[in-house]
Symmetry: D2
């Protein structure tokens, strides 16, 4: 018998939203999930229409997530997991409510608006016994995972330098009033932090995820270049890792020509590796005094890579497939947990701890920048 599909609801993600649609495709890709309910919009009319678009039964198209949790609890076929794709400031209350109702959560990043919220959520997750996944989706790319494996196998030797960057161009100019996403992302009451929270945290998470080292201290220079913008749009940070490596992190949303330029380069005593999100099907392995090797995304690289590969090498996979890998892993993790395997895929899917670390990073970077670049502990 095929494994039954996991029944999920979405909070946020109605018509006009971006990331909700991405989550739905990711959930759909491997046929492991079924979207059965939703609180898709704070606007009742939009909530209703959006649900109809998505084949959600009218009676399960809610206008409040609290109401949804109560109603779904009563159903034999009620939801098992909630996907939160609201603006950042709503992550905390929705996640809290779900977890306290015993519902697993998949939450878009950053985990919350403040570090305090994140720390509180960490306790709530622990108390709930539920799984809380944070969609740092770039962790889902097969070659990102393979990079981590190469380091774990000591292919690079002791790590020395980590250069990570994430430039974009889409906020080079002041945002149009009509750009829904640009508007909440540059509103500090909704986003918590600007470029730093939006993409700086992705870069930070990627660096920690691949190296399996923790950033201990940062020295930062945050800037808001666009006149009138209330949040940072450029992030310059020096990094020191607990394993002795040093690094630089650059995130920017004002870099014309850069679409989604997440890129990481890591150098150790024996070799370096380089990966860029816009060419995700290749990983460069540079062993000292040997020709650079272009490792292609192929299922035969390793078991963890094989899990996240759907087509042969040379058939490009992209952003959606990487995202879908998290969904697939979460589905398998839920099943494993039901079978008592608490540590299945341990650390491969970003969780509440990654969320807390991300908030600590935001906190420390802001503190360092406000303190004229003083080295600041996370």
């Amino acid at each position: 018998m095929a494994t039954p599909k996991i029944r999920y609801a979405m909070v946020g993600g109605g018509r006009g939203a971006f990331i909700g649609a991405v989550h739905r495709i990711a959930a759909r890709m491997d046929d492991r999930y079924e979207l059965v309910a939703g609180t898709l919009s704070a606007n009742p009319e939009n909530a209703k229409i959006s649900a109809a678009d998505l084949h959600i039964a009218p009676e399960r198209a809610y206008v409040s997530y609290q109401e949804m949790l109560v109603a779904e609890k009563k159903r034999a076929d009620g939801i098992q997991i909630v996907v939160i794709v609201t603006p950042n400031h709503m992550h905390f209350p929705v996640a809290k409510a779900c977890l306290e109702a015993g519902i697993h959560v998949i939450c878009d990043k950053p985990v919350t608006r403040t570090l305090e919220e994140a720390l509180e959520l960490q306790k709530i997750v622990a108390a709930s016994g539920c799984f809380f996944a944070l969609t740092h989706n770039y962790s889902g790319y097969p070659l990102v995972r393979y990079a981590r494996e190469l380091i774990a196998e000591d292919k690079l030797g002791k790590l020395r330098v980590v250069q990570v960057e994430y430039p974009q161009e889409w906020l080079t100019q002041a945002a149009d009033a009509g750009n829904k996403q640009a508007s909440w992302r540059t509103d500090p009451t909704k986003s918590g932090a600007g470029c730093l929270g939006d993409i700086g945290t992705h870069a930070f998470q990627l660096a920690q995820f691949i190296t399996q080292q923790k950033v201990e201290k940062v020295c930062a220079d945050l800037t808001s270049f666009v006149e009138g913008r209330a949040v940072d749009d450029n992030v310059h940070v020096l990094l020191r890792f607990n394993g002795g490596a040093k690094g630089m992190l650059w995130a920017s949303q004002i870099a014309p020509g850069c679409e989604n330029g997440l890129r990481i380069r890591i150098y150790g005593e024996k070799a370096g590796i380089e990966w860029a999100q816009e060419a995700p099907n290749e990983l460069w392995l540079c062993e000292l005094n040997k020709p650079r090797q272009r490792i292609s995304r192929r299922g035969d690289l390793s078991d963890i890579v094989a899990r996240g590969v759907r087509v042969p090498g040379g058939h490009p996979e992209g952003y959606l497939e990487g995202f879908a890998n998290l969904y697939k892993d979460i589905a398998d993790i839920l099943i494993a947990r039901e079978n008592g395997e608490q540590d299945f895929l341990q650390d491969w899917v970003p969780d509440i701890h990654a969320g807390v670390e991300g908030m600590r990073f935001i906190h420390a970077v802001i503190a360092s920048s406000e303190n004229d670049g003083a080295w600041t502990k996370l």
Copy 2:
């Protein structure tokens, strides 16, 4: 109300097959289809297990496609379209049966094993009033379509040279007995032609699709390099187009280092364009005496591009998304036809005519090669 999903069945594509899974992901990506029935394998046990894997109800897991067509006909919720992903020699009989039962067809390429079958199928399609789509999936890449639009808008001027190539490496050595796919693909009774039919037709179709010109004559040199191989594994062809352009087509399955290297370059009086499948999110536009421009896959390029874009520029899309674009288009075409719009997306989705042209190409190439490279009409 959301548009109801299209109910489809699959013939072929059971456990262990490759392309069936690709079709299912493509069908799933935009939530426009529902897999409700299948004749997934000629082996009854595999057919049953494979159906269960895919959440197909046991009573709709058939062991013969004829039986399936009869049984589904009787259901109010019977299948509307059949996806054929069997080895090539089965395309014709299955498609014929479906069309004669009034069921639309999505068929993997090449359309049939012989030109005669293709010509007969062309008549059957015409008589049936059904839609027959041929999954030359590379036509689904947004930038392939944009390339066609640039040419249609005369951005290149009169076309002169078309260089298309499709090298792979996977048959560099004699195939293992255990490699199911390699084994039927190198068996002329099942595949019809080797490299020529498998990927040469993709290259041919891509060239015609983008240029909107027809290849009139070919001059060819087919080779089977691997000892004991019964079909060609390298294809060299000179091309002459009806619009005056000339070209070269190279397809190979014995080129180490080439994973899936489909690539096309087209040069006109005013400009050239270049696109490669392994970097599908960029299209190079080279206007004479200007810097090369790297056009990124973005929804704002044109309406046809916007149809096939799910994420912003810089977020790579790949093979599966391109494939899914055909499925999305077919769904919209079926709806449009029900509404009397017979020419909706006319020519954007490869159909039976593309299939016949592909078979004429195979026929002419083999004839030319056997005739010591004589220029041969299609």
Copy 3:
């Protein structure tokens, strides 16, 4: 004591010419030559001024090469070698005169205007005992030479497919009357052949040079796309090599966006290699089922590479350095010959035989194309 510099004269290459200046830089790069005389232009005034530009003593600025040969013969410090950089139709008479005067020759390619001349020149060279070098300069790139070594060492296994191409854009439109070079190159009485002779021969020579196999037969389609042009501007050729490999050669001067796109890809039973002139400091080695390796131009690759490398890896070398490598080799060959080593660097510097082969290639391609693509022996 330092080796004395070789005293050379140039025929052609006065003000306004292109390739003469390239030869002079190449000769100068390693300080092995001294330009002491010249017949730089058929125009006496230009000959004089051009000589003064180049620090040639006025009495050694000649207006006729015949006169120059006579006058230099009488000097104790007379010329040892002549560099011929005239339009193609003058190569033969000048080379003949030099060789008959016992003077070595460095000649730009193609060697002559006709095959008959080339064959006659071959005899003259043999009778003269002089060295005749043909500047197929791309043979001078260190990684081209390394590619040849990899093949010689059987790194690729038996060769199967050779894809070579050389697209340019500069003759996409009808040439201005004012463009001196375009004007003689498209005049069949001066050039002998158009794109085929100008760059098709480079592609042909490169393929033979690297593979060390000979093209036995060609099947060709020559075109003159630009209205009113008397010579071909696009060359499509299928190749068969004496070692069993097959190939394609494309040369074009009407491909917008292509500046100097000479590129070769060679595939054998075990591996493939790829090299492109516009990125000459990297060679791709693709061993079957291994990651592609980017071999960087470094002196430690081999002795022959070390000869032609002046700066460390990562410090790009280009066209002029490759050209200069031929000059350096010729200088060492002349010294070796004086010391009785007739076979020093045997086959590494293109000579009269390469010239004859190139003319045979031109001849066969034209014949095949005129004969509707019939396979034609060289």
Copy 4:
């Protein structure tokens, strides 16, 4: 009449040295210089042999630069300019002696070992009336200069972010005792600073040269990763420019896979530009919301580009040609100055002021790093 060649002497650069040979090729490329004298080595025997290698007359092969200056002064055909290619600690005394003798100087970088020496040298240059050129050779690449022109023409708008980096791999491991260059470069008494002085200054100079802005403050983290190394081998610096831009500078000599990875990216309000030394023939211009443009090195871009281009686009030029452009410019500057044009090519060739700024940079970076990353003025 041709302009007479400039007579130069070299100090340093005997057998076994690297950069001296580079300078000589650069001087030779355009035939504007003649090497007539030298103090090529502190070792008398090596000085003699090295001079003979280079066709320097025995009587002009000196063993002390002081002696050379005296002797050459007496000759009618004495030296006009001295090229200093010694280890760093000798730059100051040799330059001082030359300038005080009224001899122009071309000096390898960094200008001196300490800031104090640089400041004193600045005064000496001013008093001497001689020209002092510092071979920050990357300024000689045509597309680096074109990048500067694009910014000067306000193509980018107000500059915001400057990312410059210069990773290398060659000191990843402790240097062999036998590696002459590695040995003095990692000896602080001879080099002054490690990676920072050797290549960090190149990155700094390039950023200032292209932007025409000055770095005002730095916040730095210097590291010596290789055990036992007395100087830094990795440099992380945050930058603030006087025009309001911010930046990052990374230089490293322990990054496996990086040969000579100097690269700069500059983003303004309207556009970004990107250039990398290992692909020096292309410059990327990224105008907001337009396709990226790959600008190819071609003589028709601008007058300053035309000066430094010897072959057409698509014919790669590299490190030596860029270096040679400085030599060509210096030759023309000397002539212009003789003709009273003091500001010919003003600011295009790095001079003593660039040298002083480089030393201030080194000084400030070391101070900041020692002061736990405090922002430090230059």
